[in-house]
Symmetry: C3
Subunit: 151 residues, 3 copies
Amino acid sequence: MAHLMEDEVFMAFTTYATIVILKMMLMSPMTAYYRFTRGAFSNEEDVARKSSEERKKLLRTHPDVERVRRCHQNDLENIIPFVVVGFFYTLTGPEFSSALLHFRLFAGSRILHTISYTGALPQPSRALSWMMGMLVTFSMTYRVLSTVILL
Amino acid sequence: MAHLMEDEVFMAFTTYATIVILKMMLMSPMTAYYRFTRGAFSNEEDVARKSSEERKKLLRTHPDVERVRRCHQNDLENIIPFVVVGFFYTLTGPEFSSALLHFRLFAGSRILHTISYTGALPQPSRALSWMMGMLVTFSMTYRVLSTVILL
Amino acid sequence: MAHLMEDEVFMAFTTYATIVILKMMLMSPMTAYYRFTRGAFSNEEDVARKSSEERKKLLRTHPDVERVRRCHQNDLENIIPFVVVGFFYTLTGPEFSSALLHFRLFAGSRILHTISYTGALPQPSRALSWMMGMLVTFSMTYRVLSTVILL
């Protein structure tokens, strides 16, 4: 079994996939941080210790919290396809340099995307970083389907 | 490593998993398309070039956009379990014809689901296509757990 | 190909990953159950048979439905990273007892999380069960990145 981990394309894929998944996971504590600092919760039990007046005020949405949640959602929608298609792509035996280029571009694009989104940078920074990530996954999808199609 | 890709069940799984992931990814540009044509955005920086009056009008939700987003969310909730369980199922060494039937039914059900959802077709078209996809994944789950349980 | 399924760490991973994915999938019928019993739908075609007065009443959000949906979303945000990182972790060849401990803690934490969330149990039950799951995944991430980093 261990011999998958001796392949350098697979090792690179493991590294970059783990990094982008880790990045995605960090959106959860970030959401929690904004919920506490902005005072915006969605569950009654989260504000149970407060007085009933305060509770009503705290059970609300806040633009900063919603922004982080949209960024997290966009990660789910883009990073998971990358991991799935990237795994198949790795198994098609691509050139190491070409694979590395795909993985690096994707990881870079998602980090830029998070910065653009959470920092509310002027467009088209967010749109371009999102598009770069999509293009990388489409390029890998093309190689997978053109190598191993069996319908 | 390449010998996974010589197995015909794995090749079929790769093909269908990539197709449903690709279908899921296409919901993102579709959301963007509806956001622009319906004029319904959720980020201030997306409407920064407009006059301040127009901006307020454009920062809203629109039923058509929300519909595509719910469809995308349903994809995440159903396609990812299919990919994960389908991978384990493939490794349990099922009959090729049986595996192909599972994969085809699932891909078909999700394409029907997307058409039913985005086209707002009368029920139970959406409910039935969703249920067919769930049943395929449950069937694969049953085989996985009855073959390789180790608690 | 079948030899992955002869490795006991991989068999344990398959078992627990399938269980948590199955748990996540069951949130969909649970949402449907609450939508029907609470009378809270989001699509016009779902209430098409009702009179137009009833329709307006039924197209609404309900706290119980939203709670289940938030729980489902939290599953997506936590269970998928576990499955991806857990797969790489399994391939790094960890001790069987250590791997089993990780998988059991994670599955237990997510079941507790679902009970805490859907039952609206007093905090910090939900926060702690969520954190336990995150820590398990971080621990596996650490092992993966310290074993096979290739940037």
